[in-house]
């Protein structure tokens, strides 16, 4: 191994600063959420306590955050499952280069880059004019899909661009039907990527704000509830909530990443070459 150039040390320092920039603020509110009961929104710490976390469990102090959390959780799971299924189907479809696929692709890209407030406004208007009730599980659910599906689709493109078609040909040569090939060859190979799609589906939905704003109806999701709190809550209880929901996100991310890693390990141990398309 040759000697590291000087630029390596400079860039390492830059990278460390970048990571501090990314995580510094969230660590700070993590610390500040343990403020004493008299403590304010900034340092210095006025004692250390769990006071603000206890506050979270008293409805009159913070409104219906647990209801909001439950709704966000259910919605996140709904969006996650739908995103995985729809993205995989669409990913398979795009491999066939069917007529009109270019148009659909551009629609998906538009869905990704369109200013979120347009989705919020447009879906809200349609539901109003049709006399439908706006609800997080209907209008909110559909609006969030416009954000998660393009990510799912892009991941599927990345997966199928690296997919070795000879596995499928081998299966077909041995007499597998199209469905058997999909079920026993293609899906197992792409399974770890599907966990990635699921991670995007759940977390993007769980944290979604702009597209849910006008489409959630009278029952708020958690990000909407938190945003409502920012205008009228001036105590560290909002930090406690931020810390808790971020910790929850970290746990979810860890679960997904660990399961990808475990699947990889298990495959290596069983000597299967599934998934090693490259």
């Amino acid at each position: 191994m040759d000697r590291r150039p000087r630029s390596f040390y400079v860039l390492s320092a830059v990278f460390v600063l970048f990571v501090l920039f990314l995580y510094g603020p969230i660590l700070t509110i993590g610390i500040l959420s343990f403020q004493g009961p008299q403590g304010g929104l900034t340092f210095p710490m006025n004692g250390v306590s769990l006071h603000w976390f206890r506050d979270l469990f008293q409805e009159q102090a913070v409104g219906d955050i647990w209801g909001a959390f439950r709704r966000s959780l259910v919605l996140g799971l709904l969006v996650m499952v739908t995103t995985v299924v729809v993205s995989v189907m669409a990913g398979l479809a795009f491999r066939k280069r069917f007529a009109g696929s270019g148009l659909l692709f551009y629609a998906a890209i538009t869905s990704l880059v369109i200013p979120s407030i347009l989705i919020s406004l447009g879906v809200g208007l349609i539901f109003n004019q049709l006399g439908l009730k706006i609800h997080w599980a209907t209008s909110g659910f559909g609006s969030q899909l416009t954000w998660t599906l393009p990510f799912g689709l892009l991941i599927m493109f990345a997966v199928f661009n690296r997919f070795d078609k000879s596995y499928e040909e081998a299966a077909r040569d041995q007499g597998a039907t199209a469905w058997q090939t999909l079920r026993h060859v293609v899906l197992p190979i792409i399974a770890p990527s599907l966990i990635g799609v699921a991670l995007f589906g759940f977390t993007l939905s769980y944290d979604e704000f702009a597209r849910t704003l006008l489409t959630a109806g009278s029952y708020n999701t958690l990000p909407l509830e938190i945003f409502g709190m920012t205008t009228n809550v001036t105590t560290p209880v909002i930090y406690a909530l931020g810390t808790l929901t971020t910790a929850f996100s970290f746990v979810i991310i860890a679960v997904f990443l660990v399961s990808v890693w475990v699947i990889g390990r298990r495959r290596a141990r069983h000597g299967s070459d599934a998934g090693k398309a490259a």
Binding site: I26, F43, F98
Partner: protein, 288 residues
């Protein structure tokens, strides 16, 4: 009959793409069409009524506020783009070319992307203890003797808005640029070195040109996210700064949907023009 029908590549393709198509039709295309229609409607103080009039657009284009706010939006987009590009490129370059162990590379890459999967609102809130009048930044600067009085422009200013944008969106640059860099054939770098290029020359004449597709994809993300934003500007400027998104959301708050829709149509047009220009430089599907 059905089996024969599904043997056709195009037919099977459309069947598999049906769920995606339906979602996009119902929640993307229809809302856009609806917004375009409503942008010609009229509004009273409490309700909106169908019409075909250009009043909303006339008002929009005759108001000096519109131009100022669009200018401000482009300013945010441009500054944020430049900063995220420099930071994102540097980070991606470091990860791709200076980290030698693949495990380490994946670990550090994940470290950079994890915040993407957490809440933007919380990430904005978490700047308050830093930037506030009695926040960490002011306290530190005062204790160092750099300033005597707290700086007022740290929070609720253009500065805090752009800081938050950079904080939220730099990883949209890091990920695509890193992805493109990882696909650069390392022997090209060796060839450059063998021919006597120094590090900077290799960077300028080999790495940057080959990284352009990643830069373009990152640019599309950052520019559209900033241009379409309304919440970061509202929150980080304490409602003291405006961009197009806020203009729309204010109209929505006042139930002036037709006016909001007209602004939204112009915003969408602007964003799509920017994208169309950027897409001329890159084929997204090939770059994934």
């Amino acid at each position: 009959m059905a089996a024969h029908f599904l043997k056709n590549r195009h037919m099977l393709g459309w069947v598999q793409a049906t769920p995606l198509t339906l979602v996009l039709l119902a929640f993307l295309i229809a809302p856009i069409v609806m917004i375009v229609i409503v942008s010609f409607w009229g509004a009273t103080e409490f309700s909106i009524y169908p019409a075909f009039q250009f009043d909303n657009y006339e008002f929009l284009f005759s108001s000096p506020v519109t131009y100022r706010v669009f200018g401000n939006t482009l300013k945010y987009a441009l500054i944020t783009w430049a900063l995220t590009l420099v930071i994102g490129f540097t980070v991606a370059y470091y990860l791709a070319f200076h980290i030698r162990s693949q495990t380490m590379q994946i670990a550090l890459f994940l470290l950079c992307t994890i915040p993407f999967w957490t809440s933007n609102i919380i990430r904005m809130i978490s700047w308050i203890p830093f930037l506030g009048r009695n926040g960490i930044a002011n306290q530190t600067l005062i204790s160092w003797g750099v300033i005597d009085e707290p700086l007022e422009w740290l929070l609720y200013s253009d500065f805090s808005v752009i800081l938050a944008f950079v904080h939220l969106y730099t990883l949209f640059m890091v990920v695509p640029i890193f992805n493109t860099m990882m696909r650069i054939d390392r022997s090209l770098l060796e060839a450059a070195r063998d021919n006597g290029a120094n590090g900077l020359q290799t960077l300028m004449h080999v790495i940057i040109p080959l990284t352009k597709p990643g830069i373009m994809i990152g640019t599309i993300f950052v520019v559209t996210l900033v241009m379409g934003d309304f919440i970061t500007v509202r929150f980080m400027s304490g409602s003291q700064r405006a961009n197009v998104g806020r203009l729309i959301s204010n109209d929505i708050g006042l139930l002036q949907y037709p006016s909001a829709a007209a602004t939204a149509v112009v915003l969408l047009g602007t964003v799509l023009i920017v994208i169309a220009i950027l897409l001329r430089f890159v084929n997204i599907r090939k770059e994934l």
